[in-house]
């Protein structure tokens, strides 16, 4: 009886895991070994690592994902710190989460409106005599909009780790003579590193394969791996090549996870 009951609980999980995680990943790996004529080959990998185009694309993706993550982190940490000190912090953090409930596509179109030649931002620039500037379809606008989209996902884990810090650590630090800045440096930032790490994971990995934003906001000037996957599947119909890029993306995600997940090692002291 209890065994059957247990099966009732874990069966959906294993079905889900098999159908939506293992099978797709297996299929991607499988397809990556076929060329456009359905012949078994390693040519896709040769093309990827042999041609400069794909490697530059990879470097570009990593660079843009890095910049997006960095900007999101630089804005999110102070913001999370400030919110965690507020009286009604639950309310203020809710306001930060609110935009994530709106569809990404809607937000992207809203930004097109804001950043276009006769958009609100350019209207403001005109007031100060900067004339209309080309803002939309630039790398800068792509990075900033992507960072804006990702900020809530960065703030949340940092905010949670900040509110987890017991106030007695802060008191102890002040008690031992540390200034507020020293307390932030030596106590608060090290103690919130796990939150920062999971924030980086949540933001960096999806940023590697953003394709909708790079098209709508970046004007397709930034070709990331995500854009390439989309092109191969929908335009050139070269599923094998698209899958190969997919495999590379999956592997790089695993690498990022491994790098940010380093378990606390025993530290040697200068004794």
């Amino acid at each position: 009886m209890t065994k059957q009951l247990k099966a009732l609980f874990y069966t959906p999980y294993f079905v889900w895991l098999g159908l939506f995680v293992i099978a797709p990943v297996g299929l991607i790996v499988y397809y990556s070994f076929f060329n456009i004529n359905h012949q078994l080959t390693l040519a896709n990998y040769q093309t990827f690592f042999g041609s400069g185009t794909y490697l530059i694309m990879t470097a570009n993706s990593v660079l843009y994902a890095f910049l997006i993550t960095l900007i999101a982190l630089l804005i999110s940490y102070p913001m999370a710190y400030y919110i965690s000190k507020l009286k009604h912090r639950d309310f203020w953090i809710l306001l930060v989460i609110l935009p994530t409930w709106i569809n990404l596509l809607l937000k992207a179109y809203a930004f097109i409106g804001l950043l276009s030649q006769d958009g609100l931002v350019n209207k403001c620039f005109e007031l100060f005599g900067f004339g209309p500037q080309q803002i939309l379809f630039t790398n800068t606008s792509f990075i900033l909009v992507a960072a804006y989209i990702e900020i809530p996902f960065m703030i949340l884990p940092i905010y949670n780790s900040l509110t987890d810090i017991s106030s007695s650590y802060i008191r102890a630090s002040h008690d031992l003579g540390a200034t507020t800045w020293q307390t932030i440096q030596k106590i608060i930032i090290p103690m919130t590193l796990p939150g920062v790490k999971s924030g980086v994971q949540i933001v960096f990995i999806p940023s590697l394969s953003l394709f909708m934003l790079s098209r709508l906001i970046g004007g397709n000037k930034v070709i990331t791996l995500g854009t390439a996957v989309e092109e191969h599947f929908l335009t050139t119909m070269n599923w094998g090549m698209g899958s190969t890029i997919g495999v590379v993306l999956i592997i790089s995600m695993v690498v990022v996870m491994a790098l940010t997940n380093t378990k606390k090692k025993r530290r040697q002291t200068i004794w």
Binding site: A172, S173, H174, D175, A178, Q268
Partner: protein, 361 residues
């Protein structure tokens, strides 16, 4: 007269519309062991926090070494705290925790090494210097917290119920160690606890608190032998408290009998309360006893028997006796005049002390 290291003058602390502290004034001298004793929520931790600088007092003045420190931030105050939960930084190991106060002060590395070593030696944990905090037992964490707090050589160490998380045996050991450490360091300890045994065992002077006020201050012996009122008598140690009437000086009546006692200075026929400690009651035969009681229960406590007996008017009597008695036996109780302590209703501490001064030498 010694110069006080810490002085509080008419300190009030108000949270919303409730007073957590009401007119607290006291002086602490250098090199003594003080205890703030009271039930939880009596304001003792609030006093500690206002001295440490974690909370601002609503009115009144806090002095440290003769200077007012009301507006001095916590990190500028030359005193340190041992926290109830120790608050050892989990991102640092033992060495880094203990060194923290010196690192933030910018002390040279070589000197930090020496001083950390000495501090760890003080608490007998030199060998644990490389351990992570999570690898230490509760008692060891406790000692590291003390080592960290004394590294800056404070003149006053504030201890916020530091022993409450330890088991009974370790707590007793730590009582000796804390007292010993305080004497070796020669600095002032202000210890907060709700455990009256701890307070009696360690302190030079105890402040008994309730509901934001200090009810009585004095040496452990004074407070135990001469509690000012019902609350103190009940809170400190175990006691039998009986309503009575002061016939005249040195003569009291309760339970329909008159007894010679050692207290004086009250109005004739004033209603009072009498305290008799359970260890001062001696069991004897029913005829010889000043009071006759019937034994209800007795518990063996190891070093004594705890006996509960009831008199003919239904009052319960708690007696500590080295010898057992029989259940349901009628026995007599005797006690000497000085075993009784008489308490007046609503007597202030200064009046209480003055009255005691008039007939005690």
């Amino acid at each position: 007269m010694e110069k006080p290291i810490i002085e509080l003058q008419h300190v009030y602390k108000k949270y919303d519309d409730q007073y957590a502290l009401k007119d607290i004034s006291f002086k602490l001298n250098e090199g003594e062991f003080y205890t703030l004793l009271g039930p939880s929520g009596c304001g003792k931790t609030t006093i500690l926090r206002s001295i440490a600088g974690f909370t601002e007092v609503t009115s009144g003045k806090v002095f440290f070494d003769g200077k007012e420190i009301n507006n001095l931030p916590a990190n500028k105050r030359k005193l340190n705290t041992v926290f109830q939960d120790y608050a050892l930084f989990p991102n640092m190991n033992v060495y880094e925790n203990v060194a923290f106060g010196l690192v933030v002060a910018g002390v040279a590395k070589e000197e930090i090494k020496d001083r950390v070593h000495n501090a760890l030696k003080m608490v007998q944990l030199e060998k644990y210097v490389d351990r992570e905090i999570s690898e230490l037992s509760g008692g060891q964490q406790q000692r590291i917290a003390i080592a960290r707090a004394i590294i800056n050589e404070p003149k006053v160490l504030l201890l916020d119920e530091p022993l409450s998380a330890l088991d009974a045996k370790l707590r007793k050991d730590m009582q000796y160690e804390l007292r010993d450490l305080q004497q070796r360091l020669g600095i002032t300890f202000l210890f907060v606890t709700h455990d009256q045994e701890e307070a009696l065992a360690m302190s030079d002077k105890i402040f008994v608190m309730n509901q934001g006020q200090i009810l009585q201050q004095g040496t452990p012996v004074d407070i135990y032998d001469e509690p000012i009122n019902h609350f103190v008598a009940d809170f400190i140690g175990e006691s039998n408290i009986i309503k009575g009437k002061m016939i005249k000086d040195y003569l009291i009546s309760f339970l329909g009998h008159e007894f010679e006692c050692a207290d004086a200075g009250m109005q004739p026929n004033e209603p009072v309360e009498v305290v008799i400690r359970p260890e001062d009651l001696v069991i004897t035969s029913s005829q010889k006893g000043k009071l006759q009681v019937k034994v209800d229960t007795q518990l063996f406590r190891g070093d004594y028997y705890e006996i509960v007996a009831v008199d003919d008017q239904g009052n319960e009597w708690l007696i500590h006796s080295t010898n057992p008695t029989k259940d349901d036996a009628m026995v007599g109780l005797t006690f000497g005049p000085s075993d009784m302590h008489v308490m007046r209703y609503n007597e202030s501490e200064s009046k209480f002390n003055n009255r005691l001064g008039t007939y005690e030498d």
